[in-house]
């Protein structure tokens, strides 16, 4: 196999938290040379986030940090110091892409804003991820992922009618935003190839949510109709159903899939039963159909139900907990998880490639960096900083 698809790209990751770090990880895992720049004192905030081995917090042992920063080299640089700023500008000269998610205006206050960096490197792509974007009345508002999720209208639809709206699993908003930023960054890479220009990318987390498929703005704008709030579809043979050892997702409300379901449960003759002829009649006679379906389900395990339904191409999936995913036959056959050795935590199994490319690998070239692990290598080797200056910079807390 050749080198990664993005092996010719050099990326500076100034990410603090998930979104910019995940954006840079997507670039790095597919080959880009990523340098993570962290504050020498604090490091990236995800170093404080778990999970930790034995639940003992330690900045070099955060599972989240180790995962988000694999394949990156680590440089610790105090961007509040004049020399640190100068060194960052030197790094920018040699970079194609800079990804950051500081609050709007923060890097400008350090003399490291877009205008300053573009002057240093006119071909630079600077991807800035913020909660609400770089302009507009909420620009400086305080945000958390659940706030953004709520404002996007996605939360409204998630949950039960007589309960509070519910968010998704923690972090999912930021990962989505990070992936959106990675897509935008690749767009700018193509723009640069075609037109020879670098550019600033403004990724508003709120817009990344609202601008996706599940906010129904288009439907509302076209029809004036709002989707019902947190109510069930009320379809027979669809939804989360109980089986002997847990739950299954079943999607068999439509005529074609319903007929397949009848075959799968050994009752094909019910297709001719007028009570079950249409979705509407099935809705009216749902209890009667449940009386047939539920005992069949409760006699069988998720695995048995899944295999039986899939044998008839009925849309379905077992509801699993994450531990079960590790040993699922599909996971094993696809060799999804990867074992990475890190000096502080030893071997740790991580989720692997989100997609597999036949000609250019997704691969783990190195574990996540210790704080400042590659500072000397990068500054000396690539910026030509002399050995004695490195000692001074270290003593001054610049690196």
């Amino acid at each position: 196999m050749a080198e990664g698809a993005l092996a010719d790209l050099r990326v500076l990751d100034l990410g603090v938290g998930i979104p910019a770090s995940f954006c840079a990880k997507m670039l790095g895992d597919y080959g880009a040379d990523v340098i993570k720049v962290e504050d020498p004192q604090e490091g990236d905030a995800t170093r404080q986030a778990g999970p930790f081995p034995d639940n003992v917090p330690h900045p070099e042992r955060s599972g989240l940090f180790l995962h988000l920063n694999m394949n990156k080299r680590g440089v610790a640089l105090n961007l509040k110091s004049a020399r640190g700023q100068e060194l960052l500008r030197d790094l920018v000269k040699r970079a194609d892409i800079l990804v950051e998610n500081y609050p709007p205006g923060y890097l400008d206050s350090l003399g490291l804003g877009w205008d300053a960096l573009e002057e240093v490197n006119p071909r630079l792509i600077m991807t800035s991820i913020t909660p609400f974007g770089l302009s507009g009345p909420y620009r400086d508002y305080a945000a958390e992922e659940s706030v953004l999720f709520a404002m996007s209208s996605r939360m409204w639809h998630h949950g039960m009618a007589d309960r509070e709206p519910l968010r998704y699993a923690p972090g999912t908003v930021w990962f989505q935003v990070g992936q959106t930023a990675a897509l935008a960054t690749m767009g700018a890479v193509f723009a640069r190839r075609r037109f020879g220009v670098g550019q600033r990318i403004d990724v508003s987390a709120l817009e990344a949510l609202v601008g996706n498929v599940d906010c129904y703005v288009v439907g509302y704008s076209m029809t004036g109709e709002k989707r019902a709030s947190r109510t069930r579809q009320g379809q027979a043979a669809s939804g989360i159903v109980r089986v002997r050892d847990g739950y299954m997702l079943l999607v068999a409300g439509g005529d074609r899939f319903f007929r397949r379901l009848l075959q799968a449960i050994g009752q094909p003759e019910l297709a001719d039963d007028p009570r079950f002829a249409t979705a509407e009649s099935r809705r009216q006679h749902q209890e009667e159909f449940d009386g047939i379906l539920i005992p069949w389900l409760l006699e069988r395990s998720r695995r048995e139900v899944f295999e039986q339904l899939q044998a008839y191409s009925v849309m379905s999936a077992p509801l699993q907990t994450v531990d079960e995913v590790f040993t699922d036959p599909q996971t094993l056959a696809r060799d999804f998880f990867v074992d990475i050795h890190h000096p502080e935590v030893g071997h740790l199994v991580h989720p692997g490639a989100p997609f597999k490319m036949s000609d250019t690998p997704w691969e783990v070239r190195r574990a996540a960096p210790l704080l400042g692990q590659h500072t000397a290598d990068v500054l000396r080797g690539e910026l030509g900083v002399a050995e004695d200056e490195l000692a001074v910079l270290h003593a001054q807390g610049v690196i």
Binding site: S153, T172, Q235, Q330
Partner: protein, 441 residues
């Protein structure tokens, strides 16, 4: 359209419903010439239920039942002409594309498809694993027509593996990967939350990213490649912490709902009117002090034990009870305004009208009016990011069914007008559906 990053690249799109169509729309946003190939004469999933049910004008075929898969969403008026061009779900996911409607299973249709591939750079297909092979349009076959083709195939569990051919929608990987279990109400079983389509949203960002990574590589190496994308694996990349907690400590992450156990107060609070809510998150002691000011410095909050995170977490239920009394006197927008004024993270749980009317998004020019030949004007969100120097544009309206049959087949692929008429006469190509071919989900 001029001045967009992917000008000059041609992408063939053969996908349904959400993740694939919206993913390839992203490539169109960036300037690629995306040609969507829709199935004919059988009605595809993406032209939603109501469209499929609707009889053609002058006919009286009764509406058929709704399919279970309403993921594509959006109703089309049943009595209007060309209902399949009106369904909002289709508009939501498709823009900046040309559309042809052709039976690729017909030998002539397949030959034309090969010809289309031979002049294209990338092909995205989103059918169940193994389907492309059965259709004769798998990677090994297509590279004979276009040696440096980039082909991306996505399926719920990926192209390879024992679940090849298994059938589901986005909520399948959501259940299978553990995400469903992690997003249920902590005090209720998993049936408390509906099947989730989050994976469609994130895959729609990952699919075009993957295609661009491969095209980028091709610029350097001259080689195309095949991309095997599993929706489940994309989703697992977005929830690494629970997997790491298991692999580190054999500890099973539990659903936490809206409450982060390490901080307080935090959650979704009921507001004045029925079924209105606001989210509030107080992470730091400074935010707690700000919150007190924002809610009018009430006496109940003036307790030393509330001044630290640990103390607030211990008193979570007392604080929530008091805070709820306050939020119940407010609208969500009032909570938002009062707390953001003191820099406390808070926001309304918007319904879609609140999001569409949001003043910040409107001031940023995020919603754009677009005009469609059948449905007229409506607003749609801009692309989910802004390239400041080469901003994406809506340069092609949502494609009508078969709208560009002639342009693509005759203009691009060199089919003669006589041959084109014959393809239509023989039902290989069309631009409207006949009810006898309608299927349900």
């Amino acid at each position: 359209m001029k001045g967009l990053p992917l000008e000059g690249y041609r992408v063939v799109d053969m996908t349904e419903v959400w993740a694939g169509p919206f993913g390839t729309s992203q490539l169109g946003d960036l300037g690629a010439d995306v040609i969507r190939v829709e199935s004919y004469p059988r009605v595809a999933q993406s032209r939603p239920a109501q469209a499929r049910q609707a009889p053609l004008a002058g006919q009286t075929t009764p509406p058929r039942s709704l399919p279970a898969n309403v993921g594509s969403g959006g109703a089309a008026p049943l009595d209007a002409p060309r209902p399949w061009d009106r369904a909002s779900g289709y508009h939501m996911t498709n823009r900046n594309k040309l559309g042809i409607c052709m039976n690729v299973l017909d030998p002539r249709g397949r030959e034309l498809f090969y010809k289309l591939i031979s002049v294209s750079d990338a092909f995205v297909i989103g059918y169940s694993a193994g389907t492309a092979t059965r259709m004769g349009i798998d990677y090994q076959t297509l590279v004979q027509h276009k040696p440096d083709l980039v082909m991306l195939s996505f399926a719920a569990w990926g192209e390879q593996g024992p679940y090849q051919g298994y059938s589901t929608i986005g909520s399948g990987p959501d259940a299978w990967s553990g995400h469903h279990e992690l997003r249920r109400y902590p005090d209720l079983d998993p049936s408390s939350v509906p099947g989730g389509l989050h994976v469609d949203a994130i895959a729609s960002m990952t699919i075009p990213y993957a295609v661009m990574a491969a095209l980028h590589s091709r610029e350097r190496t001259g080689r195309g490649q095949f991309i095997d994308l599993s929706l489940a694996e994309v989703l697992m990349n977005h929830i690494p912490q629970p997997f790491l907690a298991w692999s580190m400590n054999s500890e099973l992450a539990q659903p936490i709902g809206n409450v982060d156990p390490d901080i307080a107060p935090t959650g979704c609070y009921p507001c004045r009117d029925e079924d209105t809510w606001a989210v509030i998150v107080v992470r730091t002691d400074e935010q707690w002090r700000s919150l007190r000011i924002g809610i009018g410095d009430p006496a109940w909050a003036d307790k030393p034990e509330y001044d630290t995170v640990a103390g607030r977490v211990r008193s979570r239920s007392d604080i929530d009870e008091h805070l709820t009394r306050w939020t119940r006197t407010m609208t969500p927008d009032e909570v938002f305004a009062k707390l953001q004024a003191v820099q406390v993270p808070a926001g309304p749980v918007n319904h879609v009208d609140g999001t569409l009317g949001d003043r910040h998004l409107n001031e940023r020019g995020f919603y754009r009016w677009v005009t469609h030949p059948i449905t007229g004007q409506y607003r749609r969100p801009a692309p989910p990011y802004t390239l400041t120097r080469t901003p994406a544009q809506f340069w092609r309206h949502t494609n009508l069914l078969g709208e560009h049959n002639h342009d693509v087949l005759c203009g691009l692929l060199g089919v003669s007008d006589e041959e084109y008429e014959d393809l239509i006469a023989r039902g290989v190509v069309g631009n409207s559906y006949r009810p006898e071919f309608a299927i349900d989900g």
